[in-house]
Subunit: 333 residues, 5 copies
């Protein structure tokens, strides 16, 4: 689907009718450029655009098939750029990956968006309000688009940081806090994030070095350097998340087993408290003929009071209380 | 075994009779090339081919012995390429490794296939239907073969990803899900995969840099760059699998022990529930002369009803029920 | 807020009135430079300064937004430097991060401080007392500021080392010493520290290599090399902390579970000690008609003394004592 | 000890009498070279050789002292090579390390062998049967020796792979299979192996790059590239072993503890099965005056049959059987 | 403190009186050099030396403050070298770190030693007995000092290897052998060792590459290359220690818990052995009216022999013996 197409001359937008006429006009005028915005185009729609622009067939194939690695490829008369767009889904804390491709020629830009991430209408509007930047031509558009994509990276970066902090909190709040699947899922997100952002960082550095003279004047170079810096910052963070999540996972796994051991210790301590009184009860349940304790008595008010049983009950209670206190003090209960 | 041999001129296939005559013809004609396809050739069969083509003896030795690392070696008048072919066996989720070697001269290609992976008949057919590519000559054949091999890598990559997802699911479904041997086996597969694909990535980058002027025109360079990108993408994925499998293994191992601890806790809790009533039973089994509870009675309808026993049974049942509820609430049962 | 502004000529401080007049004076004089010190400036305050100095808009944007990565960027007529300042909070053992930016032109320096870290008044005072260094001009100021920042890094480095040593001591003092959250927190600090110091090290090396001829004479180069060395030393340490903390965490987690197991062993040993006497008591509680031990007797002073019960008590005591000694010797109690 | 010495001219072996006469002859003839083979030479024996060949004193010192790192050092008029030889001892699965040094001049080779590894008699014999290779001169000898050393590496590589597979099998066969010491020992072997082979790989790459024009013609270059490829393949494998052994160790350690936990669970389950019947027995051992179950009876053939006891036995048996089945189904027994 | 100072001319030692006179003499003579040896100099002592030699103030500052990273810095007219000296303390298996700095000018060397490590008297004596090396001048002294320092590294390396082997032995001797603190302490030593030796290796490589033409002739270059090789060998070892210690720690921690589990299993097995007889005793302690086993009897010699009790004792003994054998066979006791 063709979303929007326009010619930009002298930093101003002009409506664009027939592609081939417009292209001829900007070419002959030696000024201005054409910007065509596509979204999930079919091969046929793409063909329509390509008939006029003569894009490199390999780049076109990549653009239609999708699932490319982030890259910046220089062909003879054009540059082909693949950016991975990311979208953080609040509901599931998931990251959705999309793609954004740009064909950049001397007098035209074609942007191809796949998936929901990073709508470009906003980018176009902002550019149209900034004639100075529009005058940088197609490369200025590349910068604006890339800047917007990297801004999303930074937003996702902050979301991941928040998720990590939440997980840390639950894991460290109690020894059995957190759950392995959600830690693992965040790790997978971080990996996905790294896969999307890492290759772009390398490709951009390479592009800036090689393309310095050819495509980029000093001002553009500064602009791209700024984007590259933000990418590096994101990269630093990703590295950190990975290391921390490894530790959080370890602490969590250890914590779960610690919690279980505590339970076991508690149960065993209760059982142990019953063991000694049970032994005593067993002793006085023996059938020996002569067990003096059984008929210990004292004369109370004329009759004999057999107090043995009560004494034993007191002894048992004392033992249980003492053990309880000992275990409590050791932190076992 | 010689599988197929043909001459290609002007993007068209011509049957090829005697090797030496044909070779002379393409050389004198200044156009076209010879493509000989071998599969698991014996030294004798190889000799037959080599007598005319004068391949470098070291390369020939490698091709006959096999078990080489993926590489692209430039000799004076030819290039020798070793590719590792992979085949994912659905039944066992195993990866089978084979080899595919190419000798590329100015006017000929010899392809040598070892093992079952990556049949080339399909590649040849596709090339024969695409005269434009055939006109790239021997290097075009190299690209087509390499492209097909890397496509298999991507397919295997997807299979591995699926296996990983299945393992993740089983591991996270229940705390004792998954099994260590299958996780380890997948890790080994990933390693095998890395060994097959990693060296090629480096060799290809090196070849494109050094061979740029000599063997590759701009169009070919773009084609190979495309293959290199796909290889890099595979490489990114492999790195990720490795990291994730490490964590999956840890989570699984921890999960197994957690599951066992849960069992132990459950058993112990049951035992603990029996401990207190056992103690009580022991107490009333003691033989003291004076144990008032033993003959507690109430006058019911003229006769004495000794209710002590029943009272104790009720007490026991209450204790057991209470403990059961407590343990249930703590999640111990 | 403008904290301080002055002109330095011939290594001496001169008060500075209107910015534009001063700037013209130092430029026409071919000597001296202007140093403006800002702290958390608003966009308006910044504008005031910028109107005269014509700083690069991208750099200005970074300076106002903050949260940049440490970097040294060369623009046509100026250098823009971002330094991360660190402040170790004794109370919480936390590291607070701030930023310090410098715009360095041919005849001026603007320092912008964000957050509490690294006040520059002290740096300025020291420089004003060292006319030789002041004569290096704006780059001399950059060195002095950077030196002061890196000195703070070293101080924080020492604090972290102390924290690590304290944690080591508690972890190794007893098998359950230390606590996971504080180990993890230190790890996070180290990561934060690495994020602050690592990028600067790379940026400084790059600046020294590229800027050698342009901005730095030999003396300045030596001064910056000294700073770079200190940074590298800090970097070495950080790497070490990371590795050690990993091990400390493992030892701690293992230690906790070891401690719990010891408790369990102790409890079980006590229970085991009661098991055999309980069995014996059970045996003599059986109701068999003929149990000779029950009425073993000896004639003592005319009457029969039934000693069976006492014998059994002695046997029980012996068993318990023996088990106690055995367990004690095995280290189980 | 001098093992063998000979002059090679035109690809043929000639006996070699006095070193200095021979050396003069090959030098004046402009053709041929001298090959002296030493094994564990004393300083005196070495002196004898050195008097004529004027080897570099530092290289000589290294050769006598031994325990060097694998390296290829270029002196003005000679090249000094240290190779680590490996020998796999089948009995103990140990790797024995030795050293092989070569001094390579324009017209001579001195090989010095330390330890039992890689006898050179076989290499010499093979070279003498291949006049074409002998004509490459001293560098051809270096290649032949290095090729033989690297072949041993590949053999050791295969042995290690087999050891690893055996360990994997024992570890995964049963949950407590394998033993930590043997896994650790293999890891140590792999490390030893890496130490021997890794530095050579780097040194060889460096030598081929720098020495390309000076010492190596194209044919020799191809030969050395072949050796370098084999080395890289060995290196790939070593990396893999390391990663896998790490996991095998983890799985084994976890497996041991899992096995123990299984034992504990089994024991506890048996104890738990006895707990309920014991409680019941305790209950009917109580001495209450009125326990109706004790004298439940039924009139059978004129007399009363007291069946209470038998009923309780049946209840106990039922409980035990039920528990046994439950535990069996849960996999606890 | 000035330890020793002397002039060396033509490979011979001459006493050195006043520094400035001597320096003038060697400079005008175009031959010879001055060697001043300091140990823990005060700022004042240092000043005395510096007044004549005009060392670079930054280097002097570093030398007085100490705690530098190992480095080799080239100033215009001198080279400043910082070496970390190590000393293995046998008593505590500790490594003590010191520093050794050298200022190397065209006609002088100043050596500054901090701490107890690496006394230089021995180095000086050896050099004085080797006129050939003395003729290399100040750079020859640098080599001799560095060689001696690196020799100490190798000695420490061997000590660490021994410590590691001892720890391995104790850890693998029994499942609970070794202790975490001593493993950790060795790991810390290895880290300290790495910090001392690693930076020097990089600095030396850099110095040899850059300084090749300027400071080092071919002979000196070979000498330094030798030192660099030894350093690399030490580096290889350090890497290995780190990996092995990681595993040793894991095996130890797992071993401790395995040992504890074994104890628990043993205790539980003993308890389990008592459970069944206790149940049987409980059964025959029940008070049912009709329990035939209680009065099983046989007529022996006219009277009735009630054998029930004895039969039960035999049954109990059989059960205990059988369980004992079973547990023994399972390796639980």
């Amino acid at each position: 689907m063709i979303i929007d197409q326009a010619t930009y001359r002298d930093g101003e937008r002009h409506p664009c009718g027939d592609l081939s006429t417009e292209l001829e006009r900007v070419r002959s005028g030696g000024d201005g450029f054409l910007w065509v915005g596509l979204k999930d185009p079919t091969a046929a729609e793409f063909d329509l655009v390509n008939r006029e622009l003569h894009l490199h067939p390999l780049a076109v194939e990549d653009a239609i098939k999708g699932h490319q690695r982030a890259k910046i490829e220089q062909y003879e008369s054009s540059v082909f750029v693949v950016l991975k767009t990311l979208r953080y889904l609040d509901r599931t804390s998931d990251i959705e990956t999309g793609e954004l491709m740009l064909f950049i020629g001397d007098r035209f830009v074609v942007t191809v968006r796949k998936g929901q991430g990073n709508p470009l209408a906003e980018v176009r509007r902002r550019l149209e309000n900034d004639p100075a930047r529009l005058r940088f031509g197609p490369m200025g558009v590349l910068h604006a688009v890339m800047d917007s994509v990297v801004d999303t990276y930074r937003r996702v970066d902050r979301e991941i940081q928040q998720d990590l902090e939440e997980i840390e909190e639950t894991v460290f709040a109690s020894s059995s806090g957190g759950d392995a699947p959600s830690i693992y899922r965040l790790k997978r997100e971080v990996l996905e994030f790294r896969r999307g952002t890492g290759p772009l960082s390398a490709a951009l550095a390479d592009f800036m070095e090689r393309g310095a003279g050819r495509h980029l004047n000093t001002d553009l170079h500064h602009l791209f350097r700024d984007v590259a810096d933000h990418l590096k910052q994101v990269g630093d963070h990703v590295d950190g998340y990975d290391r921390l999540l490894r530790d959080v996972l370890d602490v969590h796994l250890a914590g779960v087993s610690v919690k279980q051991n505590e339970d076991m210790r508690k149960i065993s301590a209760w059982v142990a408290m019953a063991a000694v009184p049970t032994l005593i009860a067993g002793i006085y349940g023996m059938n020996f003929d002569n067990m003096p304790e059984l008929n210990m008595s004292v004369a109370v008010g004329g009759s004999q009071f057999y107090y043995g049983y009560f004494l034993v009950l007191v002894v048992m209670a004392t033992i249980i209380t003492t053990l309880y206190r000992m275990f409590k003090r050791s932190g076992w209960l």
